[in-house]
């Protein structure tokens, strides 16, 4: 490579880094400054509203709490194993039973719980919404029949569904040896009920909007119903389907936090609620950590969905953001 092209490459890299790194960094710095100045002026009964420094400190606390809890847990199991080993030395027939650790879930445990609850709820919503959306999009009669129901249920808030879902789950999910906890099912179904609509509607619109020429191609080829759906309908609906999926995942994440807060289901929502009820001088700072974490995870979920779309969609020229 000649010196000239290396030089121009360098220039290009510099331009890219200014646009993609420097400007977002400026935005973040300005936000943190405003936050610092604004927060110091807000006084609550729990003290001054937490500024960036306090929040960072609480973040450190939450990490160390998590680590010490893990150490405790490990010791708990070690103690049990010790005890069992000692008894077995005296009495070889003894079968020990290991009790599971029942310590308080830490912030990071709560994040994990929230994540798999939201993914389960979203997954279930996809399983219902995508096939149903395809059916509605293909068939005008089904569309006319289901449209009023969809339009009425679409705007219902998760808070309205929650009591019903809770009661139904407690009444119907009766098992001596439950695989899932009831609180998990309640959150999951609430998420499903609230987040399936954008995927359903967008899939239906995408399926109904297949180009007429392509439908004619399918007719001339006399494609069977299944081949028609798999080769023509679904690929051409994929861009809109993903618009729906991304909206759904965003809604799912928002709904989950609300559901966890109100229903006392474990997860980030419960963490926020517990800190609020706790009312210590640290509470607001810890809630602020949770708020930032919720936002960050929501952002990551959306990016992940975008990457899936890039991978699956045939239309690589489509601008995705």
């Amino acid at each position: 490579m000649s010196d000239l092209s290396i030089h121009s490459l360098k220039e290009k890299l510099e331009q890219i880094s200014i646009k993609s790194l420097l400007l977002p960094l400026c935005g973040i710095i300005i936000f943190i400054m405003l936050w610092q100045v604004g927060a110091s002026r807000v006084h609550t009964s729990l003290g001054v509203f937490p500024g960036p420094a306090v929040v960072y400190e609480q973040w450190g606390n939450l990490i160390s709490e998590h680590q010490s809890e893990r150490v405790k847990e490990q010791r708990f199991y070690e103690r049990q194993e010790d005890r069992i080993a000692k008894r077995q030395a005296k009495d070889p027939d003894y079968v020990g039973k290991i009790r599971s650790y029942t310590g308080k879930p830490t912030f990071f445990d709560q994040i994990f719980t929230s994540l798999y609850t939201v993914l389960a709820g979203f997954g279930l919503a996809c399983l219902i919404a995508i096939p149903l959306g395809i059916l509605i999009g293909l068939n005008n009669a089904v569309y006319s029949a289901l449209n009023p129901v969809i339009q009425v249920f679409k705007p219902v808030s998760p808070l309205a569904w929650l009591p019903l879902v809770t009661m139904v789950v407690s009444a119907t999910y009766v098992s001596d040896d439950p695989i899932f906890s009831k609180s998990f099912l309640t959150s999951m179904f609430t998420v499903t009920l609230c987040c399936m609509w954008p995927t359903l509607i967008n899939t239906a619109v995408g399926v109904a909007a297949v180009e007429k020429d392509l439908l004619n191609v399918s007719k001339v080829l006399r494609l069977g119903w299944f081949t028609h759906v798999m080769k023509i309908v679904i690929p051409s609906a994929i861009p809109l389907m993903f618009t729906g999926l991304r909206l759904s995942l965003g809604i799912a994440w928002m709904v989950l936090i609300a559901a966890e807060m109100l229903a006392q289901n474990p997860g980030l929502g419960k963490f926020v609620w517990d800190e609020f009820q706790n009312g210590s001088s640290n509470s607001l700072g810890r809630i602020m950590v949770a708020v930032l974490m919720i936002g960050f995870i929501g952002f990551l979920l959306d990016r992940a969905m975008l990457m899936v779309q890039r991978f699956v969609s045939w239309d690589k020229t489509q601008i995705l953001r």
Binding site: N216, R222, L223, T227, S236
Partner: protein, 281 residues
């Protein structure tokens, strides 16, 4: 020679809010095997409607179409269509687009290897083997139309229907594709119905030119037999007296006998063009 395709007494009406609109009235046409026929007429005269009825995408209100003595019902690969804007599936490569058609038509009669060879053979006919693994958005408009033609040829149709196949292309690309089409036609000797609004294209390619009257209730106005020896060469023909005469006859029909009067910004235009849309849809 026995009639291959028989369009007899075909009329069609479309329902509109203002009552039924009669787009075609009593179209009669007999086409022999291996004949290349062009339909020409002003836009909105119902040429596309005729083609769609033969393709089976529309049902004639009166009359019907017989292919080898059997009535045509619904679309099918034995009447392959080359659409105006290529209509390739954008998520499939050129190869896969042709493959979709080949798999559908020959899944019982050809082995995997035979199907592959047949796909490559048809891409080769339109000189597109080099872009077999490219998707439609990666190739030019003319190349897309070539693949569209390959897809239609690969179905081994008894009648090849072409709906203004080169209408969306620039003049040079169009000439190139016309030459390609004549070359393919020399080898395969397909029965072709082509819709066009290009007088030169019609004279150059066809054995017969069907000139349609203006709608509503359009029908066949005149039929011109083009008796020029093949292979035809566009440069040699440009000054050929017979060619010029045929060209003049079509032009006379279109611009004198069937002159389309379209007042600018008039109410009349609104009604006639909305009717034309229905007929062309």
């Amino acid at each position: 020679m026995a009639t291959h395709l028989d369009i007899s007494q075909v009329s069609i009406e479309f329902p509109t809010p203002k009552g039924a609109f009669k787009a075609l009235d009593g179209v009669n046409l007999k086409i022999n095997k291996g004949e290349f026929v062009s339909l020409i007429g002003h836009s909105g005269c119902g040429k596309s409607t005729v083609l769609n009825i033969v393709a089976g995408l529309y049902d004639a209100t009166e009359g019907g179409v017989l292919l080898d003595g059997k009535e045509v019902k619904g679309p099918g690969p034995e009447r392959a269509v080359v659409f105006q804007n290529h209509s390739l599936l954008p998520w499939l490569t050129s190869y896969q687009n042709v493959e979709l058609a080949v798999k559908q038509v020959f899944k019982k009669t050809k082995s995997k290897k035979e199907m592959h060879d047949w796909i490559m053979h048809n891409l080769d006919l339109v000189h597109m083997t080099h872009a077999a693994d490219k998707r439609p958005d990666e190739i030019s408009g003319g190349m897309k139309q070539r693949v569209g033609i390959a897809r239609a040829l690969a179905m081994e149709p008894s009648v090849l229907l072409m709906d203004e196949p080169f209408g969306a292309l620039d003049a040079l690309t169009r000439a190139h594709l016309q030459d390609s089409l004549m070359e393919i036609q020399k080898d395969l000797n397909n029965t072709v119905i082509m819709i066009t609004h290009d007088v030169d294209e019609a004279v150059l390619l066809s054995d017969r030119i069907i000139m349609m009257t203006n709608g509503p209730a359009a029908t066949i106005g005149e039929i011109l037999d083009v008796d020029l020896p093949r292979p035809r060469d566009r440069l040699a023909l440009a000054n050929d007296a017979k060619y010029v005469d045929y060209r003049a006859q079509v032009l006379t029909f279109l611009y004198e006998k069937q002159r389309k009067v379209e007042p600018i910004n008039g109410n009349a235009k609104a009604t006639s063009s909305s009717a034309a849309k229905v007929a062309n849809a």
